[in-house]
Structure formats: structure tokens, C-alpha cells
């Protein structure tokens, strides 16, 4: 097990290297960072001097090498726009993004679970069909639009929830800021978390439904029913449990997605997270922020994949047997 984890972590370094290399290659098509940093009437000589000082005249491969060397020491430099250490910027915004992603994952998972089971068990009821149709809406309307619709409905027309921001936050020891402990913070997270989670919810719900349909046809379910077990025990103890392996995989990957692609939701709701920082960085060609963000996200994906793999061992006893038994 330990060897497995170590191997995976070593792989993650390779993934991060490749991601940052691709990123560096793409940066040259983004435009000129100097233009975004100085006033329009800055003379050419001063621009050139700045370019030289920032090392932007070096060939790409040298800049990449420098980046990797510094990144290995967790130094991602200063943001061109904010003129603050990139690590500080990301750390400052990380709690907002993580909280948003987790809350939306929880909303998505715990709504999808009963809905998926229900539509799987009673697939001919009109209520199941209504749920499925409704879930199509969640998957086909872009997040951006859903966010704006929510804002107009719940903030402007009904006036129940705030239209932007994170509400009051409390700083916990260790510097983590949380909005989950204040009333305004909880109110503020409802709309963005729902918006962000809607796609995931639909996906998980449909996945559980499909898996349920599959499993319910199998012999051991028929046998369980024949033994006279209660519906509850059959549906949840036997059927649902066996649907969970693919569901966990997908949920895990989707959590990564929620964190990495909270960008749109964050920008619609003015959520002070990393996604907005990244979006601004793209607009202003803030190379240090972009590269650090991409490296961090790729690391995150590797870690989430690793956790998902470990969870397999927990959920599926067959994997444990194979590993220790050394084959049949």
C-alpha cells in the first residue's frame, strides 16, 4: 500500500511537470504581460527594461527551467498584477474555493443519492420521469446562465439571499477563513454552491439510476428477495452498495472538477476564490499566477485520484483479496 501511494505521488510530479510545460508553451500566445502592467504612455525603453528585469526575454526553455527550480522550493514568485507573492494569493483564496466546492459536492451527492435510487426503483412513475426531465435542465443550461437566473430570482425579485460575495467570514487558527459559521456566510453560500453543484447532481443521479437498474436485474438481488428480506435491506444493503464503486470514482473526479472549474461560478457570484484569481490572471497575462494555479490544480487531481483508488480497496473486498492472495 505504501509503495503504491509513493508511486502515485512520484507520478504526480511528472504530471505537474508536463502540465506546466504545456502551460508555458501556451503562454506565448496569450499576449504581452508588460502591456498589462504599465501605463499606456510608458516609453519603450522603460518597457524593455522591465521585460529584461522580469526575464521575459529569455528563451522559453530557460524560463521553464527557472520556474521548475523555484517551484521545487515552493516559490512561485510575485504576481505581475497584484505585486504580491503568488503563494500568499492562492492560500488567501483557497479556503473560499474549497468550502464552495465541498458544500456543493455535499449538496449534489446527498440530493443525487435518494433521487437516483428512487428513479431507479420506480422508473415508470411519472414523478421519476419528471425528476429525470428536470435533471436534463441542470445538465443543459450553462452554469453562467443558471447563476444569473438564481441571482435575479432569489436576490432581486424575492430578496431572500445575497447576490454576491461570501458574507462575514471568521478566521480560524491557522489562517483558514470560513463563512460556514456565520448566518450571512451560510446564506451567501447557498446560491453559488447550488449553481456549481447542479451539473454534478444531475450526473451522479443519472449514474446511480443506471447502476441501480443494472444491479436490480442480477440474480443475487432476486435471491435476496426470495429469501424474504425487507425492501429496505435489499435496495440499500445489497443493491445500492454494489453501485457505489463507479459512483465513488465519478464523484471523486467531479470533486476535482468542482474545485478546478468553480471559475465560472466564482466569477458570477463574486466569490473570492482561486478561480476568479485565475480568470483575472488570464485577462491580464499574469504568468506567475497562471502557472502556479495550473500546477496546483494538477497536483490536486492526482491526489484526488489517489484517494479514489484507496477508497476502492475499502469498498470492494475483491481488490483486497487479489492483492493479498497473489492470484487464483
Amino acid at each position: 500500500m505504501a509503495a503504491f501511494i509513493l508511486r502515485r505521488l512520484a507520478q504526480s510530479i511528472l504530471v505537474m511537470l508536463v502540465v506546466s510545460l504545456v502551460a508555458f508553451y501556451m503562454f506565448q500566445f496569450l499576449g504581452d504581460p508588460i502591456n498589462q502592467m504599465v501605463g499606456i504612455d510608458t516609453p519603450l525603453a522603460e518597457r524593455e527594461a522591465l521585460r529584461e528585469r522580469l526575464g521575459l526575454n529569455d528563451p522559453m526553455i530557460i524560463r521553464f527551467g527557472k520556474f521548475v527550480l523555484n517551484a521545487a522550493q515552493l516559490d512561485f514568485g510575485l504576481s505581475y498584477q497584484h505585486k504580491q507573492p503568488v503563494v500568499d494569493l492562492l492560500m488567501e483564496r483557497m479556503p473560499a474555493t474549497i468550502e464552495l466546492s465541498f458544500v456543493s459536492a455535499i449538496i449534489a451527492f446527498f440530493l443525487a443519492l435518494p433521487a437516483g435510487v428512487y428513479t431507479g426503483l420506480y422508473r415508470n412513475r411519472w414523478s421519476s420521469k419528471a425528476l429525470l426531465t428536470l435533471s436534463l435542465v441542470g445538465i443543459s443550461i450553462p452554469t453562467f446562465l443558471i447563476g444569473i437566473l438564481f441571482i435575479y430570482l432569489f436576490a432581486v425579485i424575492l430578496g431572500w439571499l445575497p447576490s454576491f460575495g461570501r458574507g462575514e467570514v471568521i478566521t480560524l487558527p491557522g489562517g483558514w477563513t470560513t463563512g460556514l459559521l456565520t448566518v450571512s456566510g451560510l446564506k451567501a453560500i447557498i446560491l453559488p454552491a447550488t449553481t456549481l453543484g447542479l451539473f454534478t447532481l444531475t450526473l451522479i443521479m443519472r449514474l446511480i439510476r443506471a447502476e441501480m437498474l443494472e444491479v436490480l436485474r442480477t440474480d443475487y438481488i432476486k435471491f435476496a428477495r426470495a429469501r424474504g428480506l425487507t425492501n429496505r435491506a435489499v435496495n440499500f444493503g445489497h443493491a445500492l452498495k454494489n453501485t457505489l464503486v463507479p459512483v465513488i470514482t465519478v464523484t471523486g473526479l467531479l470533486l476535482g472538477n468542482l474545485i478546478a472549474f468553480a471559475i465560472i461560478t466564482e466569477s458570477v457570484f463574486q466569490w473570492p476564490g482561486m478561480g476568479r484569481l485565475f480568470l483575472q490572471a488570464i485577462q491580464e497575462v499574469d504568468l506567475p499566477v497562471m502557472s502556479a494555479y495550473l500546477v496546483m490544480i494538477s497536483f490536486l487531481f492526482v491526489v484526488i485520484n489517489l484517494i479514489v483508488d484507496i477508497l476502492y480497496y475499502v469498498v470492494d473486498p475483491r481488490l483486497r483479496v487479489e492483492k493479498s492472495g497473489g492470484g487464483h
Binding site: I40, T42, L50, L54, K83, Q84, A155, G165, Q270, V285
Partner: protein, 527 residues
């Protein structure tokens, strides 16, 4: 702790002086956050406008952009190359330190630094001399009659505070040294920073010891950046904020129709215009080989006649634009009424093209930013189709500003045939327009840096120098008029319009809108 204490002291002071005045909190949102709190590091209009509430310059501009005394009570040009500024006495920084001549000299040195984006504010000054504690002389290399024209946004910092906190230079990007002043502020202005969470909110309270008489009734100001247009408008409509800007043109109606909110509209100073390649012998991206049609005045006039500026104003800008005949806002040049646009006349345009030898027109390409000016891409689309109707068939390349500006710059290869640009003279003066946009390009001399047309006229260059050192307003205006007359007759560029400002607010808010889009809280009253 200290900040909390100051805040308490302020609250107490306000409560005592106002005879138990009600708390008036004013919340507002802009599309970005202020880049930093450092007044010398970022040459960004919004950042400087925001910091203008906290810091002050030697001079100040009032709501109509006219100069008024700021931290200097008066100033005079003793010799052509020596300006004397008499400083206001008894002014204190927010931390209680006195403002004096040493702070001016310190601020000059801090700005004259390669990490200060505002270095241009003090360029050409060779020395700053302390005459006494409240008098300073600025010695310039060459005579400069408009030395202080951009000093309303050149802010004074406290020498002692900066030295004791390690803020004597702005943040150094290459060495990675951060300046204390990027996150902390100590100015002389009407408001003090009480709390700042980057990109989330900034809270300000009035400065009880401000030298000037406050015209506002605020006890607290909360600024929140709201990036998305739709969200920003929604925040205003739902009453979560009292004021937002900018309001996108397509949302103005909705804000006005909503109960309790309205949009304040006014002209902005930026002039939107077209530049055309006048320097290449063969036009890029064209089917005309071996020559450059734009070099022919008739072709440029034809383009001008082909543009239906009223349609652009009505259909694309929804009335929020002032068509312009010259390259500077009429607010900034008294004689602008003497200029008129070439009329929209499609037949005339076709006739001119035929005379120039292009009876069937020609093909070329138009370059355009799509996230820089109000409805920039839509304006370009309209122009492309208007030109097509007289025979000039162009493909449109619209890109984000970061890409666009890099590509059209001389360093990017001046990769264009013609395109769209906007310009606000930083000094609010025609000299800036002439030297930046209409002088013969010369990077070393700092001339024609944004003259992307590549236009060159010896008389215009000569006039620009004369205007640069002429102190008599009548003579100066006459020369500016002459220069603009030449460039307009020769169609060096095609001016389109000045776009408009749109600030949305709740009806109980009174404020003054400045045409430079800077927002001063000391004009705000909550009723």
C-alpha cells in the same frame, strides 16, 4: 489593534461633533478591486481614483476637472525651468505626522524609481529643492508649462512612516521584495483605510482631522469589487449596494425602470478613433499589390464619408456617445466647435474611391479589441459593414486586449492594415494627444508612440514643440487649433466618438460624476 483603536476614536469623534449624527454607511461596487494601496506603483485610472480619497496631491481637480489647490496652496513659474510650490500648513497624515517639504522630496524620489509605474509623472525633473519647510522648487530639464497637469494623481507620502515601515520603494517585482505600502495606507486625504481584504472589500472611515471642510455626510464607506456586469447590476437592484459603476449600456433601461434606482450618464474623456497604415508601401492583408491605398487622401476621405456615426451612436451605443470631429474631448479643448465631421455620404465615398483608382473598392483587414472599450467589437462590426457598402471589403479580427495591443505595437510588428483605438490624454491636454498620436514616430524621442497610422507632418511636429513650451493660453490654443486643422484635413486618423460614463445609484444617494471616471467620496451624501 491600532487600526481598531483609530476606528473607535473616529467613531467617537464623529458622534461627538455631529451632535449624534446617524451612521451613514455607503456601499458601492466597481468591476475590479484597486490594484494595491501603493499610490506610486500602479498607473491604473481606477486605482488612482480610489486612492485619491485616501492620499492627496499637491494640486487637486474639482468635480468639473478644474484645478484647485490641494496640498499646495499656490504655485508659480519663477523661471522657465523652475516651478515653486507653496505647501499648505498644518496638514497632518492619518498617523498624525506633519506634512512638509521633506515629504514632497521623499515622494519625488519614491516615484522616480524603476518600480514605480507613475514615474512618468515626474519625468524631466532634475531636482527638487527644499526652500523652507513649506516651500519647494522643482527644477526641470526643459521649460514645462504644464508640469502639474497630472499631479492631481501624484500622491504625497509620509517620509517617516515609509522609512520606519520599509516602504521607501514600491514593490520590486524582479527581486520579489514586497512593499509595506501595498497593503497599508497613510495619506492626508478625506478618508482612512479601516479594513482591507484584497478582492473582497475595503472599508474606509472619514478622516476627522482633514484640512478641508467635508461636503459629505458619510460615517463609513464599503467598497466591493463585483466583476460580472449582470451581478453588479443585480446587487444594485436588490439594494445590497447603493451605487455601482460601470453599468453596461444594455442594462441602463432596466436600472432606470426599477423603483428607487437610476443611472447617471455623462460624457467621458476618451476618444475612440480609427488608425490606418500610412507608412507601408504595400498594404497588409489586401488584394491591392505594390501600393498602399490608404496613402491616398481620397481613400481616407472615402472611408470617413462611409461611416454613419449617428447609426453607431443610436444602434450600438444606445445614445451613449458623443460623435467627435477631433482627437480630443470638447471638454478639454475650448475651440473644438470649430471642427465638424465629414458628413456621412455613401455616394461621395464611392466617387472618391473611383477617383483614387479603386472603382470596385479593395480588400483589407480590420483589427479590433473586444474587451477594452464600450462595445468595441460591435463598433468594428458596424464599420466593417459600412465600409463594405462602398466597396472596401474587410475581414474583422477582434481579440482580447492583451493580444491585440501586443500585436499592433511596433514591437509586435505593427501587424495591421487599419484598426480601432481609444485615447485619454493623461494630462487632459491637447499636447499629449499631439505628441502621442499625431507626431512623426520616434521611439527614442518619445514621440508618436501610439501614432499607429504612422502619420508624419513636419509642421505638426514643430507646432507640438511650440505648444509644449508656450504659456500664453490664447497663443497656445491657436497653435493647437492649427495642428488639429492639419491632421483633420489630412485625415491622419478618423475620430469616432467619446463614449459615455454610466454610474448606477439608488435615489437617496447624491454624488458628483467626474468626466475622468474617478469617484470621490467627499461629494457623496446619503439622504
Amino acid at each position: 489593534m491600532r487600526k481598531a483603536f483609530t476606528a473607535l476614536a473616529v467613531a467617537a469623534a464623529v458622534a461627538a461633533s455631529g451632535g449624534m449624527a446617524e451612521a451613514k454607511t455607503f456601499k458601492w461596487g466597481f468591476q475590479t478591486d484597486t490594484s494595491s494601496l501603493d499610490p506610486h506603483a500602479h498607473n491604473v485610472t481606477f486605482t488612482l481614483g480610489f486612492l485619491g480619497n485616501v492620499y492627496e496631491g499637491l494640486v487637486r481637480r474639482d468635480a468639473d476637472l478644474q484645478f484647485e489647490p490641494g496640498l499646495a496652496v499656490k504655485w508659480e513659474n519663477l523661471e522657465p525651468t523652475r516651478w515653486r510650490f507653496y505647501l499648505r500648513q498644518g496638514v497632518k497624515f492619518h498617523n498624525g505626522n506633519d506634512f512638509n517639504a521633506d515629504d514632497v522630496i521623499f515622494s519625488f524620489e519614491r516615484t522616480n524609481n524603476e518600480d514605480a509605474n507613475l514615474r512618468g509623472r515626474v519625468v524631466g525633473i532634475t531636482e527638487v529643492v527644499k526652500v523652507d519647510d513649506h516651500t519647494v522648487d522643482f527644477i526641470t530639464e526643459k521649460p514645462n508649462p504644464i508640469i502639474y497637469y497630472e499631479w492631481d494623481t501624484w500622491f504625497m507620502m509620509d517620509k517617516e512612516w515609509s522609512e520606519s515601515n520599509g516602504a521607501t520603494t514600491p514593490t520590486n517585482l524582479s527581486k520579489g521584495v514586497e512593499s509595506f505600502a501595498a497593503h497599508n495606507a497613510n495619506g492626508t486625504g478625506a478618508f482612512m483605510i479601516k479594513e482591507r481584504q484584497t478582492d473582497v472589500k475595503t472599508v474606509l472611515v472619514p478622516n476627522p482631522n482633514w484640512w478641508d471642510k467635508p461636503q459629505h455626510n458619510l460615517t463609513e464607506v464599503i467598497m466591493t469589487p463585483i466583476g460580472q456586469d449582470a451581478t453588479r447590476v443585480a446587487a444594485l437592484l436588490s439594494g445590497e449596494v447603493d451605487m455601482v459603476y460601470p453599468v453596461p449600456v444594455q442594462d441602463i433601461d432596466r436600472v432606470n425602470k426599477n423603483d428607487g434606482t437610476s443611472v447617471m450618464v455623462g460624457p467621458e474623456l476618451r476618444t475612440i478613433f480609427l488608425y490606418m497604415d500610412l507608412f507601408r508601401d504595400e498594404l497588409l492583408y489586401s488584394n491591392v499589390k505594390g501600393k498602399n491605398p490608404f496613402k491616398d487622401l481620397k481613400v481616407r476621405q472615402a472611408m470617413y464619408h462611409a461611416i454613419d456615426i449617428e447609426a453607431i451612436k443610436k444602434k450600438i451605443m444606445r445614445g451613449l456617445a458623443d460623435p467627435s470631429a477631433i482627437m480630443i474631448s470638447p471638454k478639454l479643448f475650448d475651440r473644438s466647435e470649430n471642427f465638424t465631421r465629414l458628413p456621412y455620404d455613401r455616394d461621395k465615398a464611392k466617387a472618391l474611391l473611383a477617383e483614387a483608382g479603386y472603382p470596385d473598392g479593395f480588400e483589407t483587414r480590420m483589427d479590433c479589441p473586444n474587451d477594452r472599450y464600450v462595445n468595441d467589437e460591435q463598433i468594428c462590426q458596424a464599420i466593417v459593414s459600412m465600409l463594405a457598402k462602398v466597396g472596401i471589403k474587410s475581414t474583422l479580427v477582434a481579440e482580447p486586449k492583451a493580444k491585440y495591443f501586443a500585436r499592433i505595437a511596433p514591437k509586435g510588428g505593427s501587424d495591421y492594415a487599419f484598426g480601432l483605438l481609444g485615447w485619454t490624454p493623461g494630462s487632459f491636454d491637447s499636447h499629449n494627444v499631439l505628441i502621442s498620436l499625431l507626431n512623426t514616430p520616434d521611439q527614442k524621442a518619445g514621440r508618436g508612440l501610439y501614432n499607429y497610422s504612422g502619420y508624419s507632418n513636419a509642421r505638426v511636429d514643430e507646432l507640438t514643440d511650440l505648444i509644449g513650451s508656450e504659456t500664453d493660453k490664447e497663443k497656445r490654443d491657436a497653435m493647437i487649433e492649427e495642428a488639429f486643422k492639419i491632421t483633420t484635413d489630412e485625415v491622419a486618423t478618423i475620430p469616432l466618438h467619446q463614449q459615455a460614463l454610466a454610474w448606477g445609484k439608488r435615489d437617496n444617494i447624491e454624488l458628483k460624476q467626474r468626466a475622468d471616471n474617478q469617484f470621490r467620496f467627499y461629494y457623496v451624501n446619503v439622504k
